[in-house]
Symmetry: C2
Subunit: 156 residues, 2 copies
C-alpha cells in the first residue's frame, strides 16, 4: 500500500505533465488495488494515507490518466465508473441483477481490438468489454420475473 517503485511509475508517466506526489499516489493506489475501483473508493484509499488530497484533484488526475491510456475506465450505468490500472487485455462479466463483476479471459477480444483499430483508424488505447447478463446464482434464485423474457433478440 505504500509507494511502488518510483521508477515504475515514472516510466509510465505521461509526458508534458508534472509528476506530483498526488498524481504518483493516485496511480500507485490504483495499481496496488489490482482491481476495478470506483472514484469514490480510490478517494477513500488515497485519503487514508494522504488526507489532504482533494476530490477534485483525484477526478482531474483520473481523467488525465484515462485520457492518456495509463489507466482504463470502465463506466457502469447504475454506479460510478471503475478505474483499472491494468491496461492489458482482460474483460469482465457484470451481473445486471446482483452487480457482481468478475474477470473473464477472452482471447478473441484481442482480435476485436485489432479489427476495430483497422476499421476505424483510431489509435486504440484500450477496449472495455463488459458482458452484461445474469450470473448463475441469480438465475437460480430468481429466474428473472419467473420466466424467459423475450431474450431472443439478445443472443446471437
Amino acid at each position: 500500500m505504500t509507494n511502488a517503485d518510483p521508477t515504475e511509475i515514472a516510466k509510465d508517466f505521461p509526458e508534458g505533465f508534472r509528476m506530483t506526489p498526488q498524481r504518483v499516489a493516485i496511480l500507485d493506489e490504483i495499481r496496488q488495488a489490482g482491481g476495478h475501483l470506483t472514484a469514490a473508493e480510490i478517494i477513500d484509499r488515497i485519503h487514508e494515507q494522504h488526507p489532504s488530497i482533494s476530490v477534485g484533484t483525484v477526478y482531474r488526475t483520473l481523467n488525465m490518466f484515462a485520457e492518456r491510456g495509463v489507466i482504463l475506465e470502465f463506466p457502469f450505468g447504475n454506479q460510478a465508473s471503475r478505474f483499472d490500472g491494468r491496461t492489458e487485455r482482460h474483460d469482465h462479466v457484470h451481473c445486471t441483477i446482483c452487480g457482481e463483476l468478475r474477470d473473464v479471459e477472452v482471447p478473441s477480444a484481442l482480435l476485436a481490438h485489432q479489427v476495430a483499430e483497422d476499421q476505424s483508424g483510431y489509435e486504440i488505447q484500450g477496449h472495455q468489454t463488459i458482458f452484461s447478463g445474469i450470473c448463475p446464482k441469480c438465475r437460480r434464485s430468481q429466474g428473472v420475473s419467473g420466466d424467459e423474457k423475450g431474450a431472443s433478440a439478445t443472443r446471437d
Copy 2:
C-alpha cells in the same frame, strides 16, 4: 415518426410489466433513433411528442428495459450513459479526446460473447465493447504526445 408497429413493441415487451403508453413511447423512440442516445436526449425527444412524461419515468423505464435486456446501456465515464435499442452485436470506438462515437463491425466480438458465456456461466444479454482511443482527426490535429495540454481537451 410516432409509433412503430405496436405488435413489434409488444413482442419484445418484458412480461410482468404493464405496457403503458409511456413505456411504449420510450422504447419506440429509442428504436426510431437507431443510434446511441443519452438519457437526456431521449427525454428531449420524448418531450417533443409527450411533454408530460416525466424524467423519473424515463429513467425508471430505461433501467427496467436495460435490466431485461430489451435495450443496451453503454455508460461513459465523462458523460451520461447512452442507450441503444439494437441488442444485436455492434461495437463502438470512442475517442477519448473529442468524444466521437462511431460503430465498428467486429466479427470476433461475437466469439468473445460466446467465450465469456462459457467461461462465466452467465446468461449474457449483451456485451458492451467500447474501444477507447484517439481518432485520426484528433491525432492529426494535436499529435497527443509531445506538446498537448490535455486538460483543456474538448469534452464531447
